[in-house]
């Protein structure tokens, strides 16, 4: 079988030069998406680069399975939030347009555009166009304006658009990239990187062919999967992914009042049946996904007026009981506001909850907060503070730096209450409810992203650019170990053996880890969770005490390192790096670690 060629579109924004790079060899090693993003960062971003400088890259990664199972686009850049390697996912249809346009290795942006611009890609017609009329607009308005402009004279609506909001333009360090308004690559400040490059948006349309290696075999696999999995996780079509919040409150794994409590009566206001029956509008989904778990919810009544939003665990979990802002009316309003401004709901809610606790404890005064009375559950105050953060006004200018850089600027003992891991806010998770969750989140080298983002399955999905919600159905239908072996030959023409497949996944995982170590990440020191989880006991609804034991945590973490095939300190062993053909990282690693 012939192996497929993979081509990446590289645009140097400084010079306006565009070229198509063959990345077949790198894709074969690092799969694509998150893996190839880490490799590109290693190659192209010098150590200690300012993430908002033109030297940083912004990679919209697609992979060999884009367009075959729940499509995602993985966005990689050095993160302004953690100052190390960063990665973020967005679902939707952008990836499939890149594939149809012929760039099945992704889109790489380097340099910095001289003036506000957007990128226009229609097959091989690639242009950097002026976006001064879009600059300053909110996400939705910008996307609608861009859409109207592009669809002139076209017969369909298939231009896919990703933009940043005002937060990205103002280089707010937890700004995200919005695609089709409710898919967001929100985490780790990818929107700020895009804003620092003066890029307001990306519009892609392709009418080529995906040219999979063996379409008939791939079709058989996809239809078998759709057939067998059609009922697996299909409940998500009813409520979207809001459902897990309610269960998590009862498991004490969802944060309440910035992790001060394990339960509060307002937790019971999150009932997914109410969401389905009262707020749901319809279903929409992503490319080639049988679930269609995007369930927009709508509210109409005053005082908040008509608003529509997509509620998920990730974007509302941090606001709900964590900031004591319960009820779907409030969630729908807040979530939309953050989406409009182009910020990460999860991270900003962490910043706001941190400020709320500091205010509660008297560490910051109303004067410090520019007159905002930031009591728990004060929606008006939260909205005003959020807007200040988005436009970097007053106190917002400090808070917009995120939980790594803002606490030292405020000082006065407030650092202690910042619930963060490596600068990424831990908001919609309460770690005392589950040691597994705590360790899984702690050992992700890029930061405490939601879920077990460092585990092999998640990382493989991010690299194949398959949605993480496909993991369970895929495992139940094919068995996880067979997914790569079945799909990669059909989609890419790579005849991989089980060992090769294991090596590919392991290689991309180590690449990301080494990339972070080069920027100063020391696993033993940084893979920690805030002390609060070891020191304060919380109680579940039924009075069950929950607290983590530090020794147990460290022992579990060590076990996890070994299961990730690292040494007990969480560093890749020299032998494994040589075995996987990554000798080129060793000299750089020695600069940080000496002879390890």
């Amino acid at each position: 079988m012939t192996e497929k060629k993979y081509q990446m579109l590289e645009i140097n924004l400084t010079t306006g030069e565009k070229r198509v790079v063959d990345v077949t060899a790198d894709m074969r090693k690092y799969i694509g998406g998150r893996g190839l993003g880490a490799k590109l960062m290693w190659e192209r971003v010098p150590v200690d680069t300012d993430p908002l400088a033109p030297e940083n890259i912004l990679y919209f990664g697609v992979g060999p399975l884009t367009g075959t199972l729940g499509t995602i686009v993985n966005v990689s850049a050095k993160s302004p939030l953690t100052l190390r390697g960063g990665t973020s996912n967005m679902n939707g249809h952008l990836g499939i347009e890149l594939i149809y346009a012929g760039y099945n290795g992704g889109l790489l942006l380097t340099g910095k555009a001289p003036k506000p611009s957007y990128i226009y890609i229609h097959n091989d017609k690639v242009e950097i166009r002026d976006a001064s009329h879009l600059w300053g607009k909110n996400n939705l308005a910008a996307q609608q304006a861009l859409r109207e402009e592009l669809h002139k004279g076209l017969e369909d609506q298939n231009f896919r658009i990703a933009t940043i909001g005002p937060a990205g333009e103002h280089l707010v360090r937890n700004a995200g990239i919005s695609h089709d308004f409710y898919h967001h690559a929100a985490r780790m400040g990818m929107g700020a990187v895009m804003g620092s490059k003066n890029i307001k948006g990306i519009a892609v349309r392709g009418t080529g062919s995906p040219a999979y290696a063996n379409p008939a075999k791939l079709f058989a696999l996809i239809t078998r999967f759709h057939h067998d999995a059609r009922l697996k996780k299909a409940q998500d079509r009813r409520w979207g992914h809001n459902i897990s919040i309610a269960r998590r409150y009862y498991d004490t794994t969802e944060g309440v009042k910035n992790k001060q409590l394990g339960w509060d009566p307002i937790c019971d206001q999150t009932n997914s049946l109410v969401l389905e029956q009262q707020y749901k509008v319809w279903n929409d989904g992503c490319n080639m996904c049988h679930l269609g778990c995007k369930v927009p919810s709508m509210r109409r009544d005053p005082p908040l007026g008509p608003t529509i939003a997509e509620l998920r665990h990730d974007n509302v979990g941090g606001w709900d009981a964590n900031c004591m802002l319960p009820g779907f009316d409030v969630q729908v309003y807040l979530s939309t506001l953050l989406d409009e401004l182009g910020m990460d709901n999860e991270d900003v809610s962490g910043v706001v909850a941190w400020m709320m606790e500091c205010y509660q404890r008297g560490l910051v005064s109303q004067d410090d907060l520019d007159g905002i009375d930031l009591t728990w559950g004060n929606l008006e105050a939260v909205c005003k503070l959020v807007k200040k953060i988005a436009y970097r006004e007053g106190i917002g200018n400090i808070l917009a730096d995120g939980l790594k850089l803002a606490p030292p600027q405020i000082g006065k003992g407030t650092e202690k209450y910042a619930i963060t891991g490596k600068g990424v806010a831990i908001t919609s998770y309460e770690l005392r409810g589950s040691m597994q969750d705590a360790v899984d989140m702690a050992v992700v080298p890029v930061g405490e992203l939601h879920g077990a983002r460092g585990a092999a399955r998640w990382m493989a999905c991010d690299a194949l650019t398959v949605c993480g919600f496909m993991i369970r159905p895929l495992h139940e239908v094919f068995g996880w170990d067979n997914v790569g072996l079945e799909f990669l030959p059909a989609a890419a023409g790579w005849e991989v053996t089980p060992q090769e497949w294991h090596d590919m996944v392991q290689r991309m995982r180590l690449m990301e880890r080494c990339n972070c170590i080069r920027e100063g990440y020391i696993p033993e020191r940084d893979d920690m969770i805030p002390d609060r989880f070891f020191e304060e006991t919380i109680y579940s609804k039924y009075g069950e005490p929950k607290i983590l034991n530090r020794e147990e945590f460290l022992a579990f973490r060590k076990k996890t390192y070994l299961s990730y095939e690292l040494n007990p300190q969480g560093i890749p062993t020299r032998e494994s790096l040589i075995k996987l053909g990554m000798e080129f990282v060793i000299p750089e690693m020695e600069k940080r670690l000496g002879q390890w």
């Binding site: 609608q144 080529g208 379409p215 989904g285 269609g292 529509i308």
Partner: protein, 218 residues
């Protein structure tokens, strides 16, 4: 020790023989039939496009599909399908519009579906059938397939087995005998989206919420 009693043979077991998906338990129409699209259920996955291009061309390429998914923002994303509804003779605008005689795009009265004579079709440059159809159903994909692409109900050797219906994960496509005049299904996708958008009233097209200042003042 009690043993479980075998169910009596006369008691029907619901769903015992059900092995498939979609509406394949329902008998396919024998005579006139169409694929009815339930656009409120469409999630925009594109599985139907994949199945269509695979059946007709052995490739996965949505541009070759005869059913198309249009993805709108109204202002939030919503996808709707667009597919030929095999109109009755009097309403067949594409056939009337074809400049050739006999028309390239016409109805096969024996097999009950539209047919395009690919060799004679004038292609994309002509495009009169597409312009005439109120729903702009006939598609072209030059240069590979420079002839009108129209649903043939996946008819092969007299057997009709629409693949998009088989594959749709949300049962949003149904293969059935017409329940009402077919051409009433012939709604342009733009209009379909507009109808669905009315559900969102009173949201506006480019703004879907009031700003905090409007609600609470400066």
């Amino acid at each position: 020790m009690t043993t479980e009693k075998a169910p009596e043979a006369t008691i029907p077991v619901l769903g015992a023989n059900k092995s498939g998906w979609g509406v394949e338990d329902m008998p396919n129409p024998k005579g006139v039939g169409l694929i009815q699209a339930r656009w409120d259920l469409c999630i925009g996955c594109g599985a139907c496009e994949m199945a269509c291009s695979m059946f007709h061309y052995g490739d996965i390429n949505r541009e070759l599909a005869r059913i198309r998914i249009y993805r709108y923002h109204v202002p939030i994303p919503k996808s709707v399908q667009n597919i030929c509804c095999q109109c009755a003779a009097e309403e067949r605008e594409c056939e009337k519009a074809c400049p050739l005689d006999p028309p390239v795009i016409h109805y096969d009265k024996e097999k009950f579906h539209m047919v395009v004579d690919a060799d004679r079709c004038l292609g994309y440059k002509c495009g009169k059938c597409r312009k005439a159809c109120p729903a702009s159903v006939p598609c072209f994909y030059p240069p590979e397939q420079n002839c009108a692409l129209v649903c043939d109900l996946c008819e092969r050797d007299g057997v009709r087995k629409p693949q998009c219906v088989e594959v749709c994960p949300t049962y949003a496509l149904e293969y059935m005998a017409p329940q009402f005049p077919q051409h009433l299904e012939r709604i342009h996708p733009d209009d379909k989206a507009a109808y669905l958008a009315k559900r969102l009233y009173p949201l506006s097209k480019d703004r879907i919420q009031q700003t905090p200042e409007e609600i609470w003042g400066e």
